[in-house]
Symmetry: C2
Subunit: 298 residues, 2 copies
């Protein structure tokens, strides 16, 4: 399950709770499009803002409505104690895998992060994907740490935060990481703008934000790249450049994708937890609405 | 209560729960030393790693054992909903004030942070201290945002993350901030190594980590500075230079202060929540033990 398109849906919510019907709608879109896996409660699923009970419920709903599509569930938390509890909850809900980022408040040391993964992987009965997202965790993995963690039991994939923007440099980057980690551990790219580049450079998976809302669009890129048609993948990704630019302007993908889901009527407004706000200027939203139509995102 | 020495104790804990007896012991030390206020559940108090129930209990214990010393309670959380709940809990526990940082997972915008403070301050019945700590929140306040937030109801102090290391530059920095915020809002310095510099430059308070463990040492610096004896404050702070250097080497004060509390027998080992670890190399701990004696910290 750690190859191809892994689609990360939003968890639609307001200040009162989770919009379960809207979440199920998003999951069903992914199943209908036949994505390779679903990543529930990733950063796009706002896991960090939910209670334990809410996270357990979202995991349960995802598994229940995912049909034969395997579901990976985010179990990250600031405290090891809570990660262990969330891992149990995810496994009870029927998750096929779990996703763990070294979330931090106090900056973490390399040894603290290694011990976190060691403790958690030793108690799992499902595979784990290492989630490297320095933009939210403020932790930078070294290549050497990737290598050490990849050898822990149950580790099956590493979600890397992107690749260099030059194709040759991207290939060299992926080749260097590949040499450090065992072959049973896949590399998956995230940072949607760099996904085609990462897949063309040898990443086996795309852990995708837009794939969680527009699975057919993301699948077209993924399948072209994995079939060896690098040019087609690049062309399909470059077509979406105006969307990647919006992500860059608004501090990442989340606020833009949330607004896109609202504009398409797939979720209510608001859908993000305060203090976070989806893209909310009238001009910005109008521009996004036009883009969604022009780019025929689906 | 937003002037003088505000002492921030550790919340001693292990993987099973909070060591209530040790926490009460730390609070009583502060009361015996006659600090000006106590800051429970600050970053040093590991607020971010505790459940709502644990935080309510710590707030209650602090107030119960603080005698006439006013207690400020940290109410920060990633989600506005949770901050509001924690504010209620803190007020029910008898907190004299609350402390709020713009904690983040997704990077926050200026408007999102302003709205957070606006929402929270409008529902408070105790004063609030703005907690600016970019090292843990990854949010940078602009001077203009300080000015806007300082005008919200119930805001009475701003805990700034430090001052420039040059005395004249520090004075200019504090003077510039003072010109932006109303006179009923005090400025308090944090970052212990810069405290004497900040107080000498015109800060009214020191929000202090070492004050939470060695209140007499911190009070001597504070009282010298606030009595106008800048030279004495500087001399007392410079004597502690080896300690400030250790903070710098170990990613901040927390791991060092936790180890110091363990070495002095004030808390059990471990006292920090995993994945965090107190200073734990044998050589580092030995060096710290020698320092604690040489510097006569009390």
């Amino acid at each position: 399950m750690f190859s191809g398109l892994s689609a990360f849906p939003l968890t639609p919510m307001n200040e009162s709770g989770i919009d379960e019907a809207a979440f199920v709608r998003l999951v069903k879109r992914l199943v209908d499009a036949n994505v390779d896996s679903i990543g529930a409660l990733g950063s796009t699923g706002s896991y960090a803002y939910l209670t334990r009970a809410e996270r357990a419920r979202v995991a349960q709903l995802a598994v229940e409505h995912a049909g034969n599509v395997p579901v990976m569930v985010g179990i990250s938390a600031l405290r090891t104690r809570d990660v262990l509890t969330l891992a149990e909850d995810a496994q009870k809900a029927g998750a096929s895998a779990v996703l763990l980022a070294p979330m931090s408040y106090q900056k973490l040391s390399t040894e603290e992060v290694f011990e976190l993964y060691k403790t958690v992987t030793s108690s799992l009965s499902v595979p784990l994907c290492v989630y490297d997202n320095p933009g939210t965790t403020h932790f930078e993995f070294s290549d050497e740490l990737y290598g050490r963690i990849a050898q822990l039991p149950n580790v099956r994939s590493i979600k890397i935060p992107g690749v260099p923007t030059d194709p040759e440099a991207a290939k060299a980057h992926v080749a260097r990481l590949r040499a450090l980690i065992p072959s049973h551990v896949t590399l998956g790219v995230s940072g949607d703008a760099l996904a085609a580049m990462g897949l063309n450079a040898g990443c086996e998976a795309w852990y995708s934000v837009i794939g969680g809302l527009f699975p057919r669009t993301a699948l077209a890129i993924t399948r072209a790249a994995l079939a060896g048609d690098a040019q087609a993948a690049t062309r399909l990704s470059e077509r979406l450049q105006p969307l990647w630019a919006l992500f860059g302007q608004h501090g990442g993908s989340l606020r833009v994708v949330a607004a896109a889901a609202e504009l398409r009527g797939l979720v209510e407004h608001p859908t993000l937890p305060l203090p976070l706000k989806a893209l909310d200027g009238a001009a910005d939203r109008q521009r996004l609405a036009v883009l969604l139509d022009e780019l025929e995102l689906a």
